[in-house]
Structure formats: structure tokens, C-alpha cells
Symmetry: C2
Subunit: 249 residues, 2 copies
DNA sequence: CGAACTTTTGACCCCATTCAAAGTAGGTGG
DNA sequence: CCACCTACTTTGAATGGGGTCAAAAGTTCG
């Protein structure tokens, strides 16, 4: 495996460990998994809607989106994943429920079989526990996002999204919450926010004129995090859960 | 324990078993759990937003809603639970992430400690596996709902909701998909659908004049399931996963 | 039988969509 | 290096779905 692949797998292991302590052996067991490398250009579907796959996907490079598709062809992106995320770990628990996924930028993934993951979960209870906890955090993020989609205006959704994405990029070691690359087209952003591309554009423009953020190409510079977080009603708790979980344990 | 309490716990055990086979002993272990009885009238919060609880809640009677609350006080209901549902099982994996919950009607709950559930999950891998699968199904339902909130019109959301709720009532043995009681106020319905009470009313009125459904008080009678499902882009797959999971295994 | 919720309806407004077109890269081949 | 193509961003004008405000008509229950 290349450095990048090992490194993203290590990130995943580290995240699991923070959620639920793993022994050195548990960790070795994870790192010893055999996976296939998958490359995908932007807008390529990695898992088609309605498909049952026997794989889980770890993001090595790029941005990928989980989505639902409607009969009119429209898509709603329900989760965004970046380096170090295992995008569809819950498929280990219920293979019939693997979500549809799409590469949003040129991406590299490491693909593992649900079979292998289930096997190591069976043999190592600490890993099983950590996997479940990881899925639970993912579910909480989606739930929070559902709330945003239901009740909030375009700028509130955008603000929340920028806060969340910035923090996650920071956690993944790709810039910080005030300065990161959000390499999506405005159409893709619209599919995540439940807005039309046109309105995404207008919303961003408003943010710029209010001096909330500056964008050069797709690099975002946040000028006033407090104001952005207030606007988006952003509560960092649900993202920094790793720490809370440890305290509670 | 009363008949009702035992019966709802059995429903929960049965559901787990369909997701991931349990032995008789696993089942006994579940049925042997000690829980507190909780009663709550409509609109009472069972778990306050932002609270960390050490409990999981099984619905014995009534309808309860999981929700997120915003700083302006508005709420978005992210999941609805009825008899036999364990509403916040994922709290076993991550106690810090127990969602806020509210009784939507007068309800009876059976409350278990996450500690006890975690203990039996640790001692019985089959149960741990089943718990994870149960949480995964819950997450898939929430994800589907997020998609609806993001991209669909009021009538599409309503149609989808009625289809889903009807099927779940049928599965729980409370009427069937064409004929069930949806005992929520239109305000509560609005909080689930991301709509104002006024617009919920108008949407229901439209359904009535189109002869999609009839409502007497809060009893719903669906006249044309096919049309309702088509309107809501309802895909039953994600709810009848129990069967699919068994085929895949 | 009155007080407090609900459901229903009407009138008006606004946020976001739709439709349309111009401007701006980025990339490819001649 | 320019011409051209395709994809993305930006802006304008008109439309509409759902929100807001307000009030009346049912219900439920003490």
C-alpha cells in the first residue's frame, strides 16, 4: 500500500480508537486488512442507487457524497465524506442498506469487503463496539443535517455546512476551520443543501458582500467564525463527540 | 411487568431476530432485562436537547418523536417511534449522542440503562450484532427522510410520510397501511414534515379533495395506495429490510 | 358552559425556483 | 499560441410554493 493509503487507514483507526479504546492488536488487525484501490473521476457513481454491495469504502483522497435519488432523477446528498472517513461502514451491519455514493471530485478509495470487516468484528469485540460507535456518530451527523434541511433558510444551511465542513477538514489535517478548500461545484453544493445552483450562487455572493467569507476559486477563507456559527446555529458538540465519549466512559 | 410491556419487548426482540438471528438464550437475556416504567403526556420532553442520558427507551404505548431544536426554539422532528420501537438504541454505542425526545401523545415507555444493554451486548456477540443492525436500519430511515426534507414539495413529503407511517403501524400490528390512526396534531405533523401547521392543513385538504385519503378525526383511510406511493416516491425497500437482510445472509 | 386547544380558511408577502443568457475559466487540437 | 468547446459561475426577470398574520369555527375537558 502507498503512504496515502496507509495514512488514511491510520486516520480511520485513530478515530475508532478515540470513540472506543482499541488495543495494539485490534489496531494491527485493522491495518492488516486487504483492500482494493478504486479511482473515480468527479460525478462518477461508486455505488448505484438501489444496489446491494458487499464493500465498504475508505476515502484516501478527494470528496465523495452519499445520496438518495428520486424518480425524477433529482438527487439529495445526505452526507459528505473526506480523507480518513469510512463512508458506508453501516453496510457491515446490514449489507442490504448500503447507501448510494458518488465521487464529487477525482477521488481515490480503498475498498474492503463487508465480509472481512464482519469477520474481524466477530473475532474482536472491541472492534465491533468501535464500529458501532462510529456508525452512531455518522447517524447523528445525518440526523442533524435532516433538521437543517427541514427548517432552515438557504443562508442558515450554507453557514452550517461551512462550519461543519471546515471543522472536519481541520480534523482530517487538511487546513483549518477558517481556511479550507471546498472543491465542489455549486450544483453539487446545491444537491447537498437542497437548493438550486442559482440560489447557492446568490447565497455565497451575499456571504461575500457581508464579509463573512472570501472565496478564491474554491478556497474558502472564513472571516468571522462566530457570526457564521451563530447564523448556522452550529453546535460543535456533535462533531467533537470523540472527546465526550471518552469522558462519559 | 404488565402484558403490554412484555408484548412490546417481544416485538423488539422479534425485530432484532429478523435482522440478525438470535438464539433462545439471547432472547431470554433480552426479556430478562429490568426496566423502569415512564409515563408521559403529550408534548412532554422525555429527553431534553443537549442532555446526556444513560437510558434507552422502548415504546410501550403512544407515539414519541426524536427532534432537534434550534436557538429560535423551533423544532424539527427527525424520527417518529411507535409501539415496539427502541427509540434511541444508538445511545448504547455513544451515550453522549442520545437524541432529544418528546412524547407526541400520551405515552408509556420502558426505560433501560445503557449500562445494562452494553453489558448484555458485551457478553453476547449475537446481540451486539443485532443491536448494530437495528441502529443501522434506523439510520437508513433518517437518511431517507433527510432526502425528502431537502428536495420534495409539501404534498410529496406528506405522501411519503403517510406511506411510511402506515406500513410501520401495520408491522406493529396497529391497523394496516390503508387504515390507521395518526394521532398527531397538525402542528406536530408540521414539525416532522418541516412545514407550518397551516400548510399541513391545506395539504391534507388537497389530499381529501383528490380522494387520496379520508380522515375522520385522526383516523386515516387511504383510498389509493398506489397513487399515494407514486406521489411520495415511496420505496418500501428500506422498511422491509428485515427480509432482505435474511436473504443476503 | 366557558377556557384552551385544535382545525380550517382567507389575504398578502417573500424566499427560493425557473427560465434565460452572458461572462469566465480550463482544456484540446490545429 | 490561438480557436474552440465544454463546464462552471454569475446575473436578471418573472413565477410560485409555502410562510405569516389574522380570525372564525370546531373540539375537548375541567
Amino acid at each position: 500500500m502507498s503512504f496515502r493509503q496507509v495514512s488514511s487507514l491510520e486516520q480511520f483507526a485513530e478515530r475508532l480508537h478515540r470513540l472506543s479504546p482499541l488495543s495494539g492488536e485490534d489496531r494491527d488487525c485493522l491495518m492488516g486488512m486487504g483492500g482494493d484501490i478504486i479511482q473515480a473521476r468527479a460525478n462518477i457513481d461508486i455505488v448505484l442507487p438501489g444496489t446491494v454491495t458487499d464493500y465498504c469504502h475508505l476515502i484516501v483522497e478527494g470528496v465523495i457524497g452519499r445520496f438518495a435519488q428520486f424518480s425524477d432523477g433529482k438527487r439529495q446528498i445526505t452526507a459528505i465524506h473526506i480523507v480518513g472517513d469510512m463512508a458506508d461502514l453501516r453496510a457491515v451491519a446490514t449489507p442490504a442498506l448500503s447507501p448510494a455514493m458518488q465521487a464529487l471530485t477525482t477521488s481515490t478509495l480503498l475498498r474492503f469487503t463487508t465480509h472481512e470487516l464482519r469477520a474481524i468484528a466477530r473475532s474482536r469485540p472491541a472492534l465491533a463496539q468501535a464500529f458501532w460507535a462510529y456508525s452512531a456518530v455518522d447517524a447523528a451527523v445525518v440526523e442533524r443535517w435532516a433538521a437543517n434541511l427541514g427548517r432552515r433558510t438557504a443562508s442558515q444551511r450554507m453557514a452550517h455546512f461551512l462550519c461543519e465542513f471546515g471543522l472536519r477538514m481541520e480534523n482530517a489535517g487538511r487546513g483549518d476551520r477558517l481556511n479550507f478548500t471546498l472543491d465542489l461545484t455549486q450544483t453539487q453544493l446545491g444537491e447537498a443543501l437542497g437548493l438550486t445552483p442559482v440560489h447557492v450562487n446568490r447565497t455565497l455572493k451575499a456571504f461575500r458582500t457581508q464579509h463573512l467569507v472570501t472565496t478564491t476559486k474554491r478556497d474558502f477563507l472564513v472571516h468571522d467564525w462566530e457570526r457564521l456559527a451563530a447564523l448556522g446555529d452550529f453546535d460543535r458538540t456533535y462533531l467533537t463527540i470523540d472527546e465526550m465519549v471518552r469522558e462519559a466512559a
